[in-house]
């Protein structure tokens, strides 16, 4: 259990689901908290270990088909994450990690595999692989600037009534129906894979605000902003 005044970040299954630089989300969150004087404790939870229920922000990343299935099986047996979310923790679930939060997702041969059931979504296999830059306009109520990132997946995700779209795609595939990702309560899912928060510090700050409160001191975002501007200019129609 973390000390009372430290922000506790829990990275779920880096041994299975961290194939695309997912560590970046951990590093960006840690750094943005630290630069605001918030002490941080990070726990890396291997798939053979239980998920602690006293964390503040949970991160889960992307991976190949087989690790994705293994990750879903183990997370279903572990009550830690669900208890943490019930206590008010926040989560960012990325790509394969996003899909397994739903009721079902597509396995290696497209066969349905049962998910963890934390988000009201269901995923299957699409026609082809969606690989490339993604730009999406974030749901206005979230107050987060345009999303920019890279997607690399074969998934098609259907959003149920229990979640809202995180954004609407401008460039790229996302969920496959013109929306990208979803959110419900303090849980965000997205196909922006790997270090999604590096190019979207606004999303990182949303997670932080959900935990530490609405008043986050501004920090120097020069490099985030320069990179965002370059990537958006490179792919916007």
């Amino acid at each position: 259990m973390p000390s009372d005044n430290a922000l506790s970040i829990v990275w779920i299954y880096p041994d299975l689901l961290s194939t695309y630089g997912d560590q970046g989300n951990v590093l960006v969150l840690e750094e943005r908290a630290r630069r605001r004087g918030i002490p941080v404790q990070t726990v890396h939870v291997r798939s053979s270990d239980p998920v602690p229920e006293y964390g503040h922000i949970y991160l889960i990343g992307g991976g190949e088909d087989r690790p994705q299935i293994l990750g879903a099986q183990r997370l279903k047996r572990d009550p830690g994450l669900r208890r943490a979310l019930d206590r008010g923790a926040a989560m960012l679930a990325v790509c394969a990690g996003y899909q397994i939060m739903g009721s079902v997702f597509g396995g290696e041969e497209g066969q349905p595999v049962e998910g963890v059931g934390i988000l009201d979504i269901s995923s299957g296999r699409g026609q082809g692989r969606a690989v490339g830059e993604l730009v999406a306009e974030t749901a206005p109520e979230l107050g987060v600037p345009t999303l920019t990132g890279f997607e690399n997946h074969m998934g098609v995700t259907h959003l149920g009534p229990g979640v809202r779209p995180l954004s609407r795609t401008v460039v790229g595939t996302g969920n496959g129906d013109g929306t990208e990702g979803c959110y419900a309560g303090k849980v965000i899912g997205t196909y922006l894979h790997g270090p999604a928060l590096a190019r979207n510090p606004g999303l990182a700050d949303l997670l932080l605000r959900w935990i530490v409160g609405p008043e986050l001191p501004p920090i120097d975002d020069t490099w985030h902003e320069r990179l965002r501007a370059e990537r958006l200019a490179a792919v916007r129609p």
Partner: protein, 412 residues
Amino acid sequence: MTQLPLRAQLAATLGRTAATLSRMTGRGDGSVIGGRVGLVLEPDLLRKLAKDRKLVLVSATNGKTTTTRLIVSALQELGDVASNAFGANMPAGHVSALAQDKHAPYAVLEVDEKYLPEVIDTTGAGVVVLMNLSRDQMDRAAEIWLLAQKWRRALAGKNTHVIANADDPLVAWGASTAQHVTWVSGGQRWREDSWCCPECGGPLDRKDNDWACRECAFRRPQPTWWLDEQNDLVIDPYGQRWPLHLQLPGRANASNAAMALATAALFGLAPSTALDRLRQVKSVAGRYTTVERDGRVIRLLLAKNPAGWLEAFDVLDPPPVPVILSVNAQGPDGRDTSWLWDVDYRVLRGRPVYVTGERRLDLALRLDVAQVPFQLAEHIGDAFAAVPPGKVDVIANYTAFQQIRAEFGRAV
């Protein structure tokens, strides 16, 4: 080697002509264009060109080009060796390499990991050398567990002798269907892709280079060759210790040399003989080359993926020697720069760092978050101008590396 049938011979000749044209028009070193023309004309050409030679295939995520080069230099003790020295490592490049050296009794081919099963099937190669498997260019590369599974299928039931790195669990799994395997303890630096058992998905318990699954019987096969990184030596199956003293720097190359020694032994070459030849290799396709410009002594290091960056950091000169990092995201590099976040750049703290390349802003942000001070350089030339005279190391990914070589007129 026996006479090729007329159609194959014509294809090989045409292939050579195209290669010459490609060189003359300055399109490249000609190694791939030649092969492409040849393959279109005669799909069976690779099989015919490989027939009747003693053929070694070398595959891995990292170290293919260098290990190929080391094995070539060892086998040259025995006779002429055909090889794709320029790293054109798909079947077109193999055809081109073999066609250019039709009478060489030996051939050593670097093979792209994805093409290995196909090339094993086509050539029936007698020896396959497998070093490591890790994440690489994720936007287009196959998933590495699937890749290892394809290796298993390709090697099962064949007479091929495999030389494999027992310390890499995925390689051990990929090689373990082969009938004859020489297991080498070649070490494994990058472990982020092998925390789980390739056989059952259970957790792997690891101690130094040894590993075993906690849930099933899969464990590291018993090596007969050992690399002792600490003491820079290789121990052969008879327990004899061979100090390496290579010119190529770093632990990754010591591991490549261990694989090369085990391969050479299969051809009857004693480590003493093979080592004399390995020690003569000082640069491979521009890598590790030192060039001088305006008083700067510039050393070029190629790093294409997270495991490769770890290896490059390992050979850097100590601070205050500056380092220039150059990153692109063109097709051959992978268009996705996410992998930058898998590399731990903190080791660069305490030395001057310059950041350049087409995706320098991705790298700049990465270093900023890691609290590694750096300076941005729009062109590589600006970075060279900014560093003081003396030594400087350059680490670049694939197309960035080729651009820098071109900058020096391919003199390196």
